[in-house]
Amino acid sequence: MTYEAVIGLETHVQLRTRTKMWCGCANEYGAEANTNVCPVCIGLPGVLPVPNAEALRKTALTGMLLNCDVPSYAKWDRKNYFYPDNPKNYQLTQLDFPSTIEGFVEFEFGEGIERVRINRAHLEEDVGKSTHFSDYSGVDFNRAGVPLLEIVTEPDLTGPDMAYDYLNALKGILEYGGVSDCDMEKGQVRCDVNISVRPVGQTELGEKIEIKNMNSFSGVRRAAAYEIERQIGVLREGGTLVQETRRWNDVVGITENMRTKEDAHDYRYFPDPDLMPHRPSEEWIAEVRTLVKELPLARKQRLMADFKLPSSDAVVFVGDAALGDYFEVAAKGAKNPKAVANWVINNLQAKFSETGSTVADIKFETSAIGELVGLVEGGKISSKIAQDVFAEMFESGKSPAPIVEEKGLSQVCDTSELQAFCNEAIAANSASVEDFRNGKEAALNFLKGQVMKVSRGKANPKIVGELLKKILGS
């Protein structure tokens, strides 16, 4: 019997806000333990939460980016469970009326485009962070109360690679929308993976097994691959699977049981009496909608169509939105946008890493790269000279034409001048001349190089080639 896997993901993403979800403490990573805390976020007796408007805006924005609806009514619920990192011992979340519902994410997978349905993206709060020592644990509540978005897919993913690509696409979307920095190192994205397997052709789902607290996408891929094999193995051997929660042991490369259904949590959800419902007005929704940006996949497709870029170039511009934005302005109206892309991706990026600067630091006009390309293509300067012109542009901010003018870098096309350069090179390299005449084609290239050298790079290489052949052939 052949089996297939069914995977759903619950992804927790910290929102980028200045302050926490319910209080004015900084939403900031890396501060000294328990310094970004106040009575509200350490759950002192008597405190009350007040929702951060920006977190609600960013939640709705995320919903829009994920093609979700933003319902006209959302409310808050308490999810009750004891844990030392959970200051109130209930977590505020959205159970049955979340801020966004029913969307989808489209992303490239293999040769095609896949669509995964999003059940909901709801807002909740992060908990503190525990550190474990040999015989005790310690808790830092700086992270407690940071706004956390939980993005839940339908069970539409069919394998570990697809899950991996979905997660990367999701991360790209969230970064693009400016809703989260998605910094994995800082634990800003965490994942729970729901996996079941079933015989191909069976419609009902198998027993769902959840792998909790994954903090890397490659981990998700490895864990899912292992778990699918494990589940299929159990079934093949005639065993049965029961609903359970497992954890991924990255060192050993296996999943391990955490708890089974019998001791599953009873979260006793109920509406939070301290928080009033949110009824977004049409104006509010329209205002958030103005923040919606083009998604990475859409942009990639547009860059390829509008600028005739190869996929590899488009990916670079999608991956670095600022660079992509720059390219789009620079290539506007350019006859050869692909050449502009080459300059931006190769030369400009090299300058950035060389000088530690960014798009914001560029001194020359946005049209300058297009002009430079025009000079090369019009035969005004050689591509070698163009490198020097570009360096000068980057340095001084001047446009390419004046640089070429001032420094006398124009390509020499005048036949009599070129003739003189050729004669000089021929006179100095009689051995190569001999070789060429004896049939060594390569010698011509050497001589051509010598002419370029003599002309200090200004000679038009095409005309020089023709000229040399003419002189030596005669």
């Binding site: 806000t17 200045r18 302050t19 209080c23 004015g24 403490c25 900084a26 000294e32 333990a33 328990n34 310094t35 970004n36 805390v37 106040c38 009575p39 350490i42 007040v50 929702p51 951060n52 408007a53 920006e54 977190a55 609600l56 409310k75 009750n80 004891f82 030392p84 525990s130 550190t131 474990h132 020592f133 015989d135 005790y136 644990s137 310690g138 808790v139 830092d140 509540f141 954890r247 955490m258 009873d266 006793r268 509406p271 009496p273 928080l275 009033m276 419902p277 949110h278 009824r279 977004p280």
Partner: protein, 92 residues
């Protein structure tokens, strides 16, 4: 104590002596019997009330407010070390 009540005791994380368990078990049984009188009512189609006032959209802007000093945040802690609240070792 009834099994369903024992489940609640476990969820609530309250250690009870055998004597307490006996007494609370019977008192809670009486109270649950009493509150069953709500079943006399037909509540079909009635909206639940979660709040005594009909407010919506109570929000605050994303503006920082002064936090508590580290010392004030930790001063009531039963046990601290290296700026952390110390608890018995967490084993998942």
């Amino acid at each position: 104590m009834r099994e369903d009540l024992q489940h609640a005791v476990k969820l609530a994380r309250i250690e009870l002596s055998a004597e307490e368990e006996g007494r609370l078990g019977s008192q809670l049984g009486d109270i649950l019997k009493y509150v069953d009188k709500l079943n006399e009512l037909d509540v079909e189609g009635v909206e639940p009330t979660a709040h005594a006032v009909p407010l919506t959209n109570v929000l605050r802007e994303d503006e920082p407010r002064e936090s508590l000093s580290h010392e004030a945040a930790m001063r009531n802690a039963p046990k601290t070390s290296n700026g952390l609240f110390i608890v018995p070792k967490i084993v998942e």
